[in-house]
Symmetry: C2
Subunit: 375 residues, 2 copies
């Protein structure tokens, strides 16, 4: 059995600009919590029947007081991740032959969650190249069209989306959905824990966040916030086991993941206050890349650390380079820069979140050198 | 925000006999993996589209080669836990108005998973006090009766159950289920990782295990094994995202939990070989408790480390003791013994798994002293 056991992580001393990973780096407190609470069911030491009811450690207070305030919602729950939260909502609201309306920039898991819940999917298209924006009025059109085919039980807005980092006008979309009596779920896997966002201020009905993506937590873990009105559907109890909530199979993140989420929480609250600086840094990075003719698509000026770039130049190089389309990946790897997928050259995304400016300067210099070398 | 951040675990230097926790204590390798892979989406460094396809770290080999061999099945998947595995199976096999047959000792999550999947539940009763055994022939009776009411899409056997640690004749139950064309799922949350168990040798169709309960892993994480015949239902792909499996929402334990499972795996393989010694130790413990008139219920002689005890004496004491029914918990706590739920005296369960004999001697002496003191 030599292959398993402890395995080293190859990228650990790399500069990391992978959008999946920049917001999930553990805080020092979370690293300590990992070791302290690592054992299997450690959080269940003093369980009284359900994860959210545990008072030692203070999961009860976290879920019932702190998290609703942080998310700007009335009721909150811990889930096994953002996708599991979306599935729980869709599954609870699903009816035979019903529909869900997704934005055209939705994460694949929104689509798959709908499929698993047996819902039909209608999409609100984005505006295409180069902005790929979701325009609020298109929600009205798509909901109206879809209502002719069946019940629309939910609309989803990805805020921001995971490709372009676009932040649509969520308030207006919420208003439009409500005009059609359709509840709105905000998929904030790239927002909650990075930037200020409150469900109530936007006027949505559900909000979903990801611990491992954006809350400096070990994974998988997610958070789900909702309006009180929906709690009877979402928090339906078992007929036989009166304390157990069916949609959450009793308990969800029953392990070390909830403890890293709690451990990082003060750090997360603080870093959200620094969001303006992160946006400023992202814009600076975008401008520097554009000087190299690597063009940032999506919202401009950009409002998020997740950015999508287009480079005709790198693409041209890939057609002739010895390592073909892998040249960029290999060159970045040589410079200990991780996060752009192997094989991508013409289009790629990255994140500057919590990456120090000195490291981003190294990244920019790397692109400059690579382009010079191959041109 | 002083309440959150790093929180100490109160029980960490206690003797731990909590059945939920004895099999989930991390190996040394897993403790190292925790720190190495703690960051949110660390395992996705070299993702090519799905968790089970990741080759660095070697998740692909683990899921496609090692795990099927270990579980004695044809196809394996990682899940967010045993309950999530059971739900995935039930959800994939569910039809409107259909039924699932559970053993009367089933874990509450089997019942809740069935409720979530919209299945009706029929139960195979146990034999009651003192054996609480599941007799194979009762499966035939219950399936036959239930078939009059609707389709039976699945039977579940809890092997062993989480109350009495009973190990029913699973082979015969599998044979009976198949006579009625009903697939059998073995819930082995207390078996896989502790004792030798192979799905194929038993003749079952699905096997479920728990990483955090019995595989020395951080949680939540589970394993699911199945016969190839069921893979088309269970591993159905998204219509739009061709790599993504719907029942698993794309990827399940996408974080540090899979790395602790893999890190502990060699240790788990070795410890399973020592199962005979664990059974012997459990029987020795049971005999010692019975000398104190604390009677072990369930299978006798016992075949598992999870045991259920009954004590008329402790119950009588609880009626008069100053701290009432909490006296036992408080006395054990004073002696740094953790794992018997607060308030229980007449009936309680515990586990001797991987607890050194010297520590179990301390536990027995504690019971002796407590009984003496209060009698």
């Amino acid at each position: 059995m030599p292959k398993f056991g402890f395995i080293e992580r190859q990228t650990k001393d790399f500069i990391n600009i992978d959008p999946l990973q920049t917001g999930g780096k553990l805080s020092e407190e979370a690293k300590k919590a990992l070791v302290e609470w690592g054992d299997g069911y450690s959080v269940c030491d003093f369980c009284t029947g359900r994860l959210e009811e545990i008072k030692t450690p203070p999961i009860y207070d976290f879920v019932h007081e702190t998290l609703p305030e942080f998310l700007g919602c009335e009721v909150a729950r811990i889930t096994n991740g953002a996708r599991e939260a979306k599935f729980a909502v869709m599954h609870a609201l699903a009816r035979p032959d019903a529909w869900v309306v997704l934005d055209g920039n939705a994460h694949y898991t929104s689509y798959v969650a709908a499929e698993r819940a047996g819902l039909n999917v209608a999409e609100v298209p984005n505006t295409g190249h180069p902005g790929f924006r979701i325009e609020p009025d298109r929600y009205a059109e798509v909901i109206e069209e879809t209502k002719k085919k069946g019940d629309v039980v939910l609309a989803v807005l990805t805020y921001p989306d995971g490709n372009y980092g676009n932040l649509p006008d969520a308030k207006r979309i919420a208003k439009i959905c409500h005009e059609y009596d359709v509840p709105l779920l905000l998929n904030c896997a790239y927002a909650v824990g990075r930037m200020p966002v409150k469900m109530k201020e936007i006027g949505a009905d559900f909000i979903v966040g990801s611990g491992h993506k954006s809350m400096a937590s070990a994974g998988p873990i997610g958070v789900l916030g909702m309006r009180e009105d929906y709690s009877s559907a979402l928090l339906r109890k078992s007929a036989k086991y009166k304390k157990k909530e069916i949609e959450f199979l009793g308990c969800t993140a029953r392990g070390v993941t909830i403890m890293t989420l709690i451990a990082s929480f003060p750090h997360v609250v603080e870093r959200v206050k620094q969001w303006d600086k992160e946006v400023e840094k992202a814009r600076w990075f975008s401008a520097k890349m554009e000087e190299l003719e690597i063009v940032q698509l999506g919202d401009k000026p950009h409002n998020h650390d997740l950015m999508f770039f287009e480079s005709q130049k790198l693409y041209e190089i890939s057609k002739k380079a010895k390592k073909g389309r892998y040249f960029l990946y290999k060159e970045l790897k040589k410079r200990k820069i991780h996060g752009i997928k192997p094989g991508l050259t013409k289009h790629f995304k990255l994140s500057t979140y919590m990456v120090p400016k000195e490291q981003l300067e190294i990244v920019i210099r790397a692109f400059e050198e690579i382009i010079d070398r191959y041109s």
